[in-house]
Subunit: 148 residues, 2 copies
């Protein structure tokens, strides 16, 4: 499905998704049209979901980040959790997890006051029985998805 050449192309795109097909081709020893065809195929196959910009959160006013663990009532469906949590622009990611906690939510806020408000609103969701927040002190590593 994705041979070593595809993987090499993805590595280049992971570092710079706006690289030209010719630039990518130079790094993987392929012509621009050959690269484009492979990229088009991976896009169609769903291996490539899209391209996005990497921003400096601090420069945009996001100063505070936290992991908020939600303990949910017994029979809350993932769909319900998702629908609720998706509404929050402050929610960067959310996953159902094993263990005591039911839902792990990553929140980005302007400051502590803002974070507090978001956590309060999350805690007030009907299916949430209690929350536990862990504030991020500093982000040491942040990598785009890589190959296995």
């Amino acid at each position: 499905m994705t041979d070593p050449l595809d993987a090499a192309i993805l590595r280049v795109l992971a570092v710079d998704a706006r690289a030209t097909f010719a630039q990518i081709g130079q790094q993987v020893s392929l012509s621009a049209p050959a690269v484009k065809r492979r990229v088009d195929r991976m896009r169609a196959d769903g291996v490539i979901r899209g391209y996005t910009v990497r921003l400096d959160p601090a420069a945009l006013g996001w100063q505070t980040e936290a992991f908020v663990e939600l303990y949910c009532q017994g029979s809350t469906s993932p769909a319900t959790m998702r629908a609720a949590v998706e509404q929050y622009p402050e929610v960067v990611a959310a996953s159902t997890v094993t263990g005591d906690v039911d839902l792990m939510v990553q929140v980005r806020a302007r400051d502590m006051r803002h974070l507090e408000q978001v956590v309060e609103r999350l805690a007030a969701e009907p299916f949430v029985s209690r929350t536990r927040s862990t504030v991020v002190l500093s982000a040491l590593v942040r990598r785009p998805d890589v190959m296995p």
Copy 2:
């Protein structure tokens, strides 16, 4: 620093970082050169860190994801933690955090066996006193960085 027009441009780039300046311009009512100048400025200012591809982890063989909390020995510097954790290609993100836990590490592995190996290696790091892993059941929300 970033006016509403810049924010609009970033929103377009967040959805499709390979959009042409002309396409972006159409969505924000600006000419292509005007968009380019703003993008160049945000790039120079560090607001835009770069562009990356969004991949389907499962399609690439990453089937398992987990939050691994590391409890570290009293006086371990963030630099030490970072240097150690950065070595692992399986580590997607790592942050120092408040609370009992010292380091929150997000790991992506091929399968449970692979995850287990990674956790064991992390636990064997000299400064790690104990670990606690939470496996992701399903990713409900995953958003690129957005505006405050």
